[in-house]
């Protein structure tokens, strides 16, 4: 991979850009199945999630021809009810144990945070009228969604990140309020990236349909167990992916509240809408690198390559 860090390639303020945006779901199962040295549990390799692992491999290969200085992640697993929070400590390291799947994910991580960019997005978000906060407690545990998506896109974990929490606006108010907030947060992210001079890769760390099975087979990776929870979920997932592939993200946003409710979608945590807002609501085709299920949920690995954008995306949002 040819990506470089910000310290090696300083660029003047105002020349920043989003190089790509990705839907990069975070089932910890995928890290487990990859058997990295940092993760304590080891998988059987039975292959239940191969389509998604292949999807991530395809995405990583696709990103090889672009350089980025920072990875900006919006994560559903840092849930905040008082606005939108941003990691504001330069370095985190430690052990992340998933409270839901501790049998699969006990990951030793070491992450660098691009605090200046986080602060810039925080300020731009405040300009949009959003409630915001910088997280300055060095003992804070970085959530496993951030770690998982970052790892699966960049296993070296050698590029600084910005992590943004998932405000509960959809839950506390309505899907429509949530959508408005996330589009505003996306616009703020885009402006901050452009002003910073950074080349940013954006990750929306969420599944599509999100109804889990509540049981797990003896081998969690047993392919015989895995399928999308029910036909309704899969039909919605495929419809949403089709809209992405056809460049119809404006229509996707119109249907998002229905999708969220009818497919119990994790998009209710706002990550995908944030991404679409930051990308200027793409009207160009996305690449679906992979689609598959993890414990019943529907997950797609999707890339919007900003070189395909026809017009300045900020004008479209």
């Amino acid at each position: 991979m040819s990506s470089s860090t910000s310290s090696s390639s300083p660029r003047p303020p105002g020349s920043g850009e989003i190089v790509a945006g990705c839907l990069s779901p975070h089932p910890p199962h995928l890290v487990y199945a990859s058997n990295p040295q940092q993760n304590e549990p080891k998988s059987s390799g039975a292959g239940a999630w191969k389509s998604l692992l292949d999807g991530y491999e395809s995405l990583r290969k696709s990103l090889e021809d672009r350089e980025f200085d920072v990875i900006v992640v919006h994560t559903p697993h840092w849930k905040t009810r008082v606005g939108h929070h941003f990691l504001g400590v330069p370095k985190f390291e430690g052990l992340s144990v998933d409270p839901i799947f501790p049998n699969l994910f006990r990951f030793h991580f070491d992450l660098q945070v691009d605090v200046p960019l986080a602060e810039a997005i925080h300020q731009e978000a405040a300009q949009e009228g959003l409630v915001t906060s910088m997280m300055r407690n060095p003992e804070f545990r970085v959530d496993y969604g951030t770690i998982t998506s970052s790892y699966l896109v960049r296993p070296e974990l050698d590029i600084p990140i910005v992590a943004i929490s998932s405000a509960r606006s959809y839950f506390d108010y309505s899907n429509e309020v949530g959508e408005r907030e996330m589009l505003a947060l996306g616009r703020a992210t885009r402006r901050a990236v452009e002003q910073s001079g950074r080349r940013a890769l954006l990750l929306a760390s969420c599944s599509l349909s999100h109804r889990h099975f509540t049981e797990e087979p003896e081998d969690p990776e047993d392919p015989a167990f895995e399928h999308i929870h029910n036909g309704n979920q899969e039909a919605w997932d495929r419809h949403v992916m089709k809209l992405m592939q056809e460049g119809q993200c404006a229509q996707l946003l119109e249907q998002m509240p229905d999708f969220i409710e009818q497919a119990v979608s994790e998009c209710k945590d706002g990550s995908l809408t944030w991404l679409l807002g930051a990308l200027g609501v793409p009207d160009f085709p996305a690449t679906v690198h992979g689609y598959g299920t993890v414990i019943g949920t529907g997950n797609a690995v999707v890339e919007w390559d900003m070189r395909k954008a026809q017009v300045p995306a900020g004008d479209q949002a």
């Binding site: 840092w78 849930k79 905040t80 009810r81 008082v82 606005g83 929070h85 430690g94 052990l95 992340s96 144990v97 409270p99 839901i100 799947f101 501790p102 049998n103 006990r106 409630v131 906060s133 997280m135 300055r136 407690n137 003992e139 804070f140 545990r141 929490s165 405000a167 509960r168 606006s169 506390d172 889990h212 509540t214 049981e215 797990e216 399928h227 929870h229 029910n230 036909g231 309704n232 414990i295």
Partner: protein
């Protein structure tokens, strides 16, 4: 132990850490902090062998998880209120009880497992409760998760399984539900001194439930939980009350005590104690179904093909 174990007291405490980490910032949080001290003394007087916690802040998906690390020692920071500081913990968990509870849950048809991993993030609600009610860790604890998909039926069965485990253990057990009452929060930064219940409606509903609890009518509150949650945005459907009522015998035969009722960032934060008292509750008129064994989701979305595939040949 040969004698049957029993619940000697049932308690409700809030799920947020403000009374522990920042009581001096708000008169309301200070009153909660003081009430914890009073509750802690009452709990000690009951001479329990175990504090058994159900926390809405520990969510699970794969059934129900029971903490089984004998000495979990780590730290946790609240997702919203990280600036209040870090909660360090060094707990004393009753592993034998956790295993017994898992077995009892499985015997009633539930998916359940124990978890014991270094660095497991024990939830803020449980840590706050144990820190304020059992600061020296002298009383062993048990903690069970709150499954996001479980509804009343499954949660009742989880409570009854806890009762099975308590009885078989021979122990004197205090049950503690960690939950907010109304769970509507202010979604902006407020002056803690000005903290109040988010709305008058939430406040009225909270007070109604607390009036019932003060009369010892725990099962009546369990029966009202759905309506309360609809009206006042109850914390996790008030599952913690379903669990507590089922574990405590599904009756109104308690002596109730409301130690405090205050806001935490708009939510209803109450400290309530219920101790068994025969004949206290009066006549009951229950509307909800009762269930002894969990038989799984109804699987109404399954296709014929998946149904036949699931059946043994």
């Amino acid at each position: 132990m040969s004698a049957k174990g029993k619940i000697v007291g049932s308690f409700v405490v809030p799920s947020r850490p403000h009374a522990l980490l920042a009581p001096d910032r708000s008169p309301a949080w200070q009153r909660l902090h003081d009430a914890y001290a009073e509750m802690a003394a009452d709990i000690r007087a009951l001479k329990p062998d175990l504090l058994l916690i159900f926390s809405t802040r520990w969510v699970s998906i794969i059934g129900h998880q029971m903490q089984a690390d004998p000495k979990p020692k780590f730290w946790v920071v609240d997702e919203d209120f990280h600036e209040l500081g870090t909660l360090h913990y060094d707990l004393n968990i009753d592993v034998a009880f956790a295993e017994r509870y898992r077995e009892a849950a499985q015997a009633r048809g539930l998916t359940a497992r124990t978890v014991a991993y270094e660095g497991f993030p024990i939830d803020v609600g449980s840590i706050t409760a144990l820190n304020l009610l059992n600061p020296d860790g002298a009383i062993p604890a048990g903690i069970v998760s709150c499954n996001i998909y479980s509804d009343r039926t499954e949660t009742l069965v989880l409570g009854k399984a806890a009762a099975d485990a308590v009885e078989a253990s021979g122990k004197r057990v205090v049950a503690i539900s960690v939950t907010a009452m109304s769970n509507r929060m202010f979604t902006e930064w407020i002056d803690p001194v000005q903290d109040r219940i988010h709305s008058a409606k939430d406040d009225e509903w909270n007070r109604k439930l607390l009036e019932l609890l003060e009369e010892g009518r725990l099962e009546d509150v369990s029966q009202l939980a759905r309506e309360f949650s609809r009206q006042a945005n109850g914390d996790s459907k008030l599952k913690a009350i379903w669990w507590l009522a089922a574990l405590s015998g599904q009756s109104n035969d308690y002596r109730g005590k409301v130690y405090a009722y205050e806001p935490i960032w708009g939510t209803g934060a109450a400290l309530v104690g219920l101790t068994p008292q025969a004949g206290a509750g009066g006549d009951l008129e229950y509307d909800e179904d009762d269930t002894e064994v969990f038989r799984g989701d109804r699987n109404v979305l399954a296709t014929e093909a998946s149904e036949s595939a699931a059946k043994p040949s």
